[in-house]
Symmetry: C2
Subunit: 421 residues, 2 copies
């Protein structure tokens, strides 16, 4: 792992896939076909890209039953407990509608309502993570979304992996279709005979899914397009090199383009972690991926001071931040930009990935400067509420009319004045 | 104004300008130039498109002073009072960071922080609305954004309109540049010698501005791209035709592409409103615009019942909804999708446009199904906070490791197990 003095330049090397012009045209064509020909087109694309011919897309009760036979009961219990923790954390994000009243009769308020329907995309193959099913579905449930639809491409056996089905069931999803790719996004956005359209699609996917989401955006809402995963660890000399290395590697194993960064004022720690990373790498099943990721996107920054280290963290605005210092709480107030902040050595990142209850869908690529973890409000929207009494309007009608006329909007002025004619 | 029975088809006819391929290429080229050549490029484009050669872009103290000399004191007071109302409403949207603690030592939380910096775009010409300055700036201020930058193209006299400068001053903006178009968006996104970059740009603009915002999105955040303004009025036979017509016209005068819709079970009201619209139109200074808007995008739907009328409103998901019925509060609970809801005859839409305190930047084009009025949270972001004690991790380490292994992520499992080696 490269060790750099800070002066050299501070940035997370990030790899964003934006798709080729050819891929974009392909995606546009798929969406167009699905809009025109509905299920027939979805069926053809599913056969072409996922090697499955499906008359009906819906997951059957038998498939659910089979899934619960495959996954061990203990494991189902773990998934349930994780789901409960996620539910409990996200319940805290719920807010009521509110209103204010004034003596002159004015009532102003903010009405909060859930989206009617949401689609959750779950990628196929090795990227079909049951934990992500929980993380995407449960906030929508808590928000009060009535209809949650899941889509996922059928695997080689024409089915969705059992762990994903179990997680979907635990999270309370009832409507699941074995469709994927741009055709699934198009079906969710515009509807087909079998799939009624939804108001928003969330969940990660490959480049075709990402491009399709961008295409339908505006007609429906989408979540952020996630980049490769990142971790930044802020540590002092009290951190244990083996633990720091293990956490860096847990990020690196995700993806060759994942980035793992250590920022520390301790040269000694930096060197020890670099050694440990080498040592632990050897024994990892996903060694190849992790090694490439560490090589291309791994870096250790050694700073002059803790203050400098913190300012680097804020510049990087990481998706995951671990603070492994003697007293991590001390620095929480200084962290301005980070998707999730893990405090202390027993709060290793996988605690949040799977279990604590916070969401693991987090802003990547430095977008923590302006974006938030997936949360309940991503599945709700607000309406302003305005009630003016006769008295309230009477008190203010001339001001409102004057402001409208200042902007040259005479009909606006006349609309309020019309009430007192 | 066309009167339709509902069965005919219910939709707001909407006109979305998405820009030509040529405009997009032009915008891309402008952005590229500004990224490479900074101020020099901005200066050239300002000369080319806004007919002003400016060495320094910043608005001077003299220009502020002049603005306050031009705008009447009474009018400044109205702007100030509106600003106070907007401030007061948006303060209610503020929420604290929170945390939960458990006996085993677990602490979970949500830390809320403002964005560091925000840019507010204010269009030039007749679309330079001081009210929009207040609506875009004040929520950012309330959110705690430290640096708020305003940009607006210089007018024919090389200056920004006085009312806009007064509103900016009242809202507390200190940094204003006389630049506009795609070059201003590029400067805000990537920075130049005179303009430091920001994290997010909000505010309406012409098609070049909209395309530029889409282009820089991802590198920085943007607000929604607004379409033409819309109003839907839900009314029963107690509504007064002259008031309904006045409110429809206040929308129609905005833009030839604005849409004004009345939904009512009363055929009598429908006919009376159509008459009134004709009558009031004649005397409007912006008659041409309003007439074209009413002709192309105005419609009255007559329904069988109030229930049917409400379900149409929810289908339309309007930007502005007025409820002009005998007891408007009665229907508030049934409204699912609307940007802002105006209740009763003294809550004419301009009340919200200028004065009540709610935001007038609202979701258009039916996006009220999934979007909200501009609000304080658009200028903040959340970070999850996770603290696990040794005891908490010890209780759960096997579950977390099991979940990680279910997903084939061995290094995740080892990271948590490493703590107990």
């Amino acid at each position: 792992m490269k060790i750099k003095r800070v002066s050299e330049s501070v940035s997370i090397k990030r790899s964003i896939e934006s798709g080729t012009q050819e891929q974009l045209l392909q995606v546009k064509a798929i969406i167009e076909e699905v809009r025109i020909r509905g299920d027939e087109a979805v069926r053809e694309f599913t056969e072409k890209y996922d090697d499955s011919y499906l008359e009906l897309f819906s997951v059957t009760q038998t498939e659910f039953d089979e899934a619960f036979e495959v996954i061990e009961e203990n494991m189902v219990d773990v998934i349930k407990e994780a789901a409960e923790n996620i539910h409990s954390y996200h319940m805290k994000q719920l807010r009521p509608s509110w209103m204010t009243t004034e003596e002159n009769g004015t009532i102003l308020g903010q009405k909060i309502t859930p989206l009617d329907s949401v689609g959750v995309y779950v990628p196929g193959g090795t990227a079909a993570y049951p934990s992500s099913v929980l993380m995407n579905v449960i906030p929508a449930k808590v928000a009060g979304v009535e209809r949650i639809v899941m889509v996922s491409p059928p695997g080689e056996n024409g089915k969705i992996p059992p762990a994903v089905l179990v997680a979907a069931k635990v999270a309370g999803v009832k409507e699941i279709y074995k469709i994927g790719g741009a055709q699934a996004i198009a079906a969710l956005a515009y509807g087909t005979e079998q799939v009624r359209p939804v108001d928003k699609v969330v969940g990660p996917g490959n480049i075709y899914v990402a491009l399709a989401k961008k295409e339908v955006f505006g007609d429906i809402d989408i979540d952020m397009i996630a980049g490769p995963s990142e971790i930044v660890i802020l540590a002092d000399q009290t951190a244990r090199p083996n633990e720091v290395a293990a956490d860096l590697l847990s990020q690196a194993e995700h993806d060759e383009r994942a980035s793992s960064v250590l920022v520390t004022p301790s040269q000694e720690l930096a060197e020890a972690v670099a050694e440990e990373v080498k040592r632990q790498l050897i024994e990892l099943p996903r060694k190849k991926i992790a090694e490439k990721s560490i090589q291309d996107y791994g870096v250790i920054y050694v700073t002059e001071s803790m203050d400098e280290a913190i300012s680097i963290v804020n510049e990087l605005a990481p998706e995951h931040l671990e603070i492994l210092t003697e007293n991590p709480m001390e620095y929480l107030g200084q962290i301005k930009h980070a998707g999730a902040i893990f405090l202390g050595r027993f709060s290793s990142e996988p605690v949040g990935d799977y279990f604590a209850g916070t969401n693991h869908v987090l802003p990547t690529n430095g977008t923590a400067r302006f974006s938030s973890p997936l949360n309940v409000e991503d599945f709700q929207k607000k309406s302003s509420v305005i009630y003016y009494s006769e008295k309230a309007l009477n008190q203010n009608v001339h001001k409102i009319a004057a402001f409208a006329r200042l902007e040259g909007l005479e009909a606006h002025a006349r609309a309020v004045e019309e009430r007192f004619k």
